[in-house]
């Protein structure tokens, strides 16, 4: 460490906190889908494609959740629409 770095040292580079935030999101997402059936990612892609024929949305706007209970399972689909959803031409 150089002489000048001693004084710079208090300045924080916040990249670790970015890493933490990104991890929390991706890990939560992967946990929610990992116990589900293998077709979930493909299902999610198809839904995205269908919705995009009408409204422009981003991949992260489609959430697919699968919950397996004792004698039945729940497939939960969530599509978040942008506030001013511009229709595709």
């Amino acid at each position: 460490m150089s002489f000048f770095e001693i004084f710079k040292n208090t300045k924080k580079d916040a990249s670790a906190s970015m890493a933490k935030e990104r991890l929390q999101i991706i890990v939560a997402h992967e946990r929610a889908t990992r116990d589900g059936p293998d077709y979930l990612p493909a299902l999610q892609r198809d839904i995205l494609e269908v919705v995009r024929r009408y409204i422009s949305i981003n991949p992260e706007d489609v959430a697919v959740n699968f919950d397996s209970l004792d004698d039945y399972a729940i497939l939960e689909l969530n599509v978040t629409l942008p506030e001013t959803a511009p229709a595709q031409e």
Partner: protein, 269 residues
């Protein structure tokens, strides 16, 4: 009853082999009869870290295929009584590790050992799946780095769904986090995830924090597991981890920057 411990991570190069060697050696030093098995078929390395590479005659796959018996394949450690190494095969294909074969060998080892430490290869392919399949306990080696943490979470998911304990609805595999290559200086500067960050995301008990240390490279250069180097930070951190594994309640060390003298700070070092 013998315990099977898998040392795993998903990601490569995070310190699984270093950890397997240190933990197995530490358990044997404390009087437990221990064997450490290299599951990395095709990329044998545990023998180097344990310093027994010149004494490999038969390997794990030879035993599975009944080309040799366990007695012929187990390598007795030169330094510690009660410690044995079962090396990986260098040449055979990965399909050589079958569920039945691995299960049979582990059953036989259970009869005479207290601890069986399984050094997993990276990835989530056959070798890694076989290393964790029969585990009673798992040490998840993680670096404070975004992709390593994500891969660790993946491996936790696999332990909870693909292990024999999961398949047979037995008590789940006991999971421990071992955070390795930790650099407190970089954590302080906000460049590296902290112990707290990783614990919060993975939410499993913390077995230990191993600092980034020059002693690790020196140890593998010499073929002497770093836990033998009782002077070194990494050696002490591994010794603490073994004691915690055996139930001791010890505070975590090496989480703070080691203080340097003013001169060293001004002129580098």
């Amino acid at each position: 009853m013998a315990k099977i411990i898998v040392v795993t991570s998903g990601k490569g190069g995070v310190g699984k082999t270093t950890t397997s060697a240190a933990i197995a050696t530490g358990l044997a030093m404390r009087g437990y009869k221990t064997v450490v098995i290299d599951f990395d078929v095709g990329l044998r390395n545990l023998d180097l870290v344990m310093g027994c590479e010149r004494r490999v005659v038969y390997d794990f796959v030879n035993v599975i295929n009944e080309e040799s018996n366990l007695k012929q394949a187990l390598i007795k450690d030169k330094r510690i009584a009660n410690l044995f190494v079962l090396p990986a095969s260098q040449t055979r294909d990965k399909e050589a590790l079958t569920k039945e074969g691995v299960g049979r060998v582990l059953e036989e080892l259970r009869e005479s050992f207290d601890y069986i430490v399984c050094d997993s290869p990276a990835g989530i392919e056959k070798g890694a799946l076989m290393a964790l399949y029969y585990a009673d306990e798992a040490i998840i080696v993680t670096n404070p780095e975004i992709s390593s943490v994500r891969d660790s979470d993946r491996i936790l998911g696999i332990l909870q769904s693909k292990s024999i304990r999961a398949e047979q609805d037995l008590e789940p595999v006991k999971e421990y986090l071992l955070l390795s290559r930790y650099d407190p200086e970089r954590v302080n500067r906000g460049e590296m995830l902290s112990v707290g960050d990783v614990e919060e995301i993975l939410a499993i008990p913390l077995l230990g924090v191993i600092p980034e240390s020059k002693a690790v490279l020196k140890a593998s250069n010499q073929g002497i597991p770093v836990i033998h180097d009782a002077e070194s930070d990494a050696g002490q951190a591994y010794a603490d981890s073994v004691d915690r594994f055996l139930g001791k309640d010890l505070p975590h060390r090496f989480l703070e920057v080691q203080k340097k003298g003013l001169l060293k700070r001004m002129f580098g070092g």
